[in-house]
C-alpha cells in the first residue's frame, strides 16, 4: 500500500536557534497505527505540528496523500485530523456545536447523521447539548477526538491521547483507536507509555533529541531487540557461581537463591540445554525456572540511553 504521509529530511529550528528536529525522514503507511515514543522534549509535538501546519518548516518536505503540506495545504489538511496534547476547548460552547464548527471549518457540508454516529461512538451523545466546561477531563479529550474526526479525515494525529487518563479510560481510548483503524483511518499517536505502543501499534518509531532513532514493526522490533531471561530458583543457596558455569555469565541474587541467565531469542542456539546440563553436573539443585521477555520499555530505555 502507498505511503499516506511522507516526511523527508525535516528540520526545524526555532527562532531562538534551538534545533528541535534534526533531519527526520519517516513514511507512514495507509491504515496503520504508528506509535511515536520519546522522552519529554524529544520533538514529537513539533513533528506533528509541522505536518499539520502549526509550525513552519525550516527545511525538508512533507506530503499527505501525495499533497505537499505547504504548497497544497488545502488538499493535504483536508485529510488530517489533529488531537492536540493540551486540552483546549471553548468553555461555553455546546458539544454538538463545537463539533459542527470543526466540520464546517474543514469545508465539509453539514451531516448531522454522521456527527450523531461519531458522538455516540465516543459516548458523548447524551452530553451533546451541554457546554464543554461541564465535562470531565476524559470527556473533554473525547470531544477533541470528535472534533478532529468531524470532517472524516484519513489520517488522525493523537498527541498523547492518554496522558493523565485513568486506566479504564485508557482502555476505552485504545478501543476507539482500534475501531478507527477498522474504519481505515491511519493513526499516529505519541506516547510516553510503552505499554500503549505495545498494545495498539503496528509500528513503533522512537524519537529522541530531534532524531528518529528507528521505525520498525512492533513485533519485529521486539523480536530483534528482545532478549529473554531465564530465572532459575535453587533449592539451596549457592555461595558463588561454580567456575564450570562461568561462560554463561549468570547473575546471582544477593541471597544466592536465584540465578539469571540472559539469552538471545534470535541466536542459533539459546544454550539453555547446555546450561541445565552443566548445572546438574556442578551439583546445583533446581527448584523452579521461568522465562520472561524483555518489554518494549527496556528496549526503549536501552535505545535512548545508548544514543545520548
Amino acid at each position: 500500500m502507498p505511503d499516506i504521509v511522507t516526511v523527508t529530511d525535516l528540520r526545524k529550528t526555532f527562532d531562538g536557534g534551538f534545533e528541535a528536529l534534526k533531519g527526520v525522514t519517516l513514511n507512514i503507511r495507509e491504515g496503520e497505527v504508528l506509535a511515536l515514543l520519546g522522552p519529554n522534549g524529544a520533538g514529537k509535538t513539533t513533528l506533528i505540528s509541522a505536518v499539520c501546519g502549526l509550525t513552519s518548516i525550516t527545511s525538508g518536505t512533507i506530503t499527505v496523500g501525495g499533497h505537499d503540506v505547504v504548497r497544497d495545504f488545502r488538499e493535504s489538511r483536508r485529510l488530517i485530523g489533529l488531537v492536540p496534547q493540551e486540552i483546549t476547548l471553548e468553555p461555553f460552547e455546546k458539544v454538538l456545536n463545537a463539533v459542527r464548527f470543526s466540520r464546517g471549518l474543514f469545508g465539509r457540508p453539514a451531516n448531522d447523521a454522521y456527527l450523531e454516529k461519531l458522538l455516540k461512538q465516543l459516548s458523548l451523545w447524551d452530553k451533546k447539548d451541554g457546554p464543554t466546561k461541564e465535562l470531565s477531563g476524559g470527556m473533554k479529550r473525547r470531544v477533541l477526538i470528535a472534533k478532529a474526526l468531524a470532517h472524516e479525515p484519513r489520517v488522525l494525529f493523537l498527541d498523547e491521547p492518554t496522558a493523565g487518563v485513568d486506566v479504564e479510560l485508557r482502555k476505552e481510548m485504545w478501543d476507539v483507536v482500534r475501531e478507527l483503524k477498522e474504519d481505515g483511518v491511519t493513526i499516529i499517536l505519541t506516547t510516553h507509555y510503552i505499554e500503549e505502543a505495545e498494545e495498539i501499534a503496528d509500528r513503533v518509531g522512537v524519537i529522541a533529541k530531534g532524531e528518529l532513532l528507528l521505525v520498525e514493526e512492533k513485533d519485529a522490533l521486539m523480536a530483534r531487540m528482545g532478549k529473554k531471561e531465564l530465572k532459575i530458583e535453587l533449592q539451596d543457596p549457592c555461595e558463588a557461581i561454580p567456575p564450570s558455569l562461568a561462560s554463561y555469565e549468570l547473575e546471582r541474587s544477593a541471597d544466592g537463591f536465584n540465578l539469571t541467565y540472559t539469552y538471545d531469542t534470535k541466536g542459533e542456539r539459546t544454550g539453555i540445554t547446555a546450561l541445565l546440563n552443566d548445572m546438574a553436573k556442578s551439583g546445583l539443585v533446581l527448584k523452579d525456572i521461568q522465562t520472561s521477555q524483555s518489554s518494549l520499555e527496556e528496549i526503549f530505555v536501552d535505545l535512548v540511553r545508548s544514543e545520548t
Binding site: 526555532f14 527562532d15 505540528s49 499539520c52 501546519g53 502549526l54 509550525t55 513552519s56 495545504f73 488545502r74 488538499e75 493535504s76 489538511r77 483536508r78 488530517i80 489533529l82 492536540p84 493540551e86 483546549t88 476547548l89 471553548e90 468553555p91 461555553f92 460552547e93 456545536n97 459542527r100 464548527f101 470543526s102 466540520r103 464546517g104 471549518l105 474543514f106 469545508g107 465539509r108 457540508p109 472534533k147
Partner: protein
C-alpha cells in the same frame, strides 16, 4: 475559497455574540443614552446650534462613531485573542483555509456585531432628538466602512496582544482620546487655528466628519477626503494583516 469555513467561523462568532446579547447591547445603549441626557438635554439646552443643527442632534454621529469604533475594535480584538489565549486557535490554523478566509470570518463577524449595535444606538438617538438623515446610503456606507476598517485594526491588536492588559491598552489609550479629540462633540472650526491643524492628523476626524455629512449634508472636512482617508486606513490594515500571515507573526512558532 473555502466558503463553508468562513461561514463556520462567522456563525461561531455570532453565536458567542447572541449568547451574551443582553450585555453586548445594554451597555453601549445605556452609555449613549447617558450621553444624550447629559450632553444633549442638560448641557445642550444651553448651547446654541452648531452649524445650524441643535447640539443634541449634532453629537449623534459622533456618539455613534464612538461606540462603533470601540465596539468593532474590541470585538475583533477579543474574537481572535480569545482562541489564541485558550489555545483553540490551533484548529483554525490547521484547517484547509487561507488567511484571507480567516480574516473574513472573524472580521466580518466583529463588523456585523458593531453594525448591529450602531444601528440600535441610532434608533435610541431617535428617541431623544429630532433627527433626519440627508444621505442614508452614504450613512450606511460610512457605517460599514468604519466597522470594517476598525474590525481589521482590532484583529491586528488581537494578534499582537500577549495579555488582556495589552488587549485593552490600545482602545483605552489611543482610541478613546482620538475619538474625544476627533470632533465628536464639537465642530473643529470651534478650535483655535493651531489646534485645527493638529487635529487634521487625527484619523477619527475624517470618520466623524464624513459620517456627520451623511446626516446633515455639511461637515468640517470635505466628504471626498473623509472617504479617501477611511479607504487608506482600510488598506493599511489589510497590508499589515497580509504581513502578519505571511510571516506567521505571533501565530506560528
Amino acid at each position: 475559497m473555502n466558503y463553508r469555513a468562513i461561514y463556520a467561523i462567522y456563525r461561531f462568532e455570532m453565536m458567542r455574540f447572541f449568547r451574551t446579547l443582553a450585555q453586548s447591547v445594554i451597555s453601549p445603549v445605556l452609555s449613549t443614552s447617558l450621553y444624550f441626557i447629559v450632553f444633549g438635554a442638560a448641557i445642550g439646552s444651553r448651547i446654541q446650534e452648531v452649524d445650524g443643527v441643535s447640539y443634541g442632534a449634532f453629537i449623534v454621529p459622533g456618539l455613534i462613531m464612538l461606540s462603533l469604533l470601540t465596539q468593532s475594535l474590541t470585538n475583533a480584538a477579543f474574537g481572535i485573542y480569545f482562541p489564541k489565549f485558550i489555545g483553540t486557535i490551533y484548529e483554525v490554523l490547521s484547517a484547509p483555509i487561507g488567511h484571507f478566509e480567516i480574516v473574513i470570518g472573524y472580521v466580518g463577524a466583529a463588523a456585523t456585531k458593531s453594525m448591529v449595535i450602531g444601528l440600535i444606538i441610532l434608533a435610541t438617538a431617535f428617541a431623544f432628538v429630532d433627527l433626519k438623515i440627508e444621505h442614508p446610503f452614504w450613512m450606511i456606507a460610512f457605517l460599514v466602512l468604519t466597522c470594517l476598517s476598525f474590525a481589521l485594526f482590532g484583529f491586528i491588536i488581537g494578534i499582537w496582544a500577549k495579555s488582556f492588559d495589552q488587549l485593552n491598552l490600545v482602545p483605552m489609550l489611543v482610541v478613546t482620546p482620538l475619538v474625544f479629540l476627533g470632533g465628536s462633540f464639537y465642530s473643529i472650526s470651534m478650535l483655535p487655528e493651531f489646534w485645527q491643524k493638529v487635529t487634521l492628523f487625527n484619523p477619527v476626524v475624517y470618520l466623524v466628519s464624513g459620517f456627520r455629512w451623511s446626516f446633515f449634508g455639511h461637515a468640517d472636512v470635505g466628504v471626498g477626503i473623509s472617504l479617501a482617508m477611511i479607504v487608506v486606513f482600510l488598506i493599511v490594515c489589510l497590508l499589515v494583516i497580509g504581513w502578519i500571515f505571511r510571516t506567521g507573526y505571533r501565530l506560528k512558532t
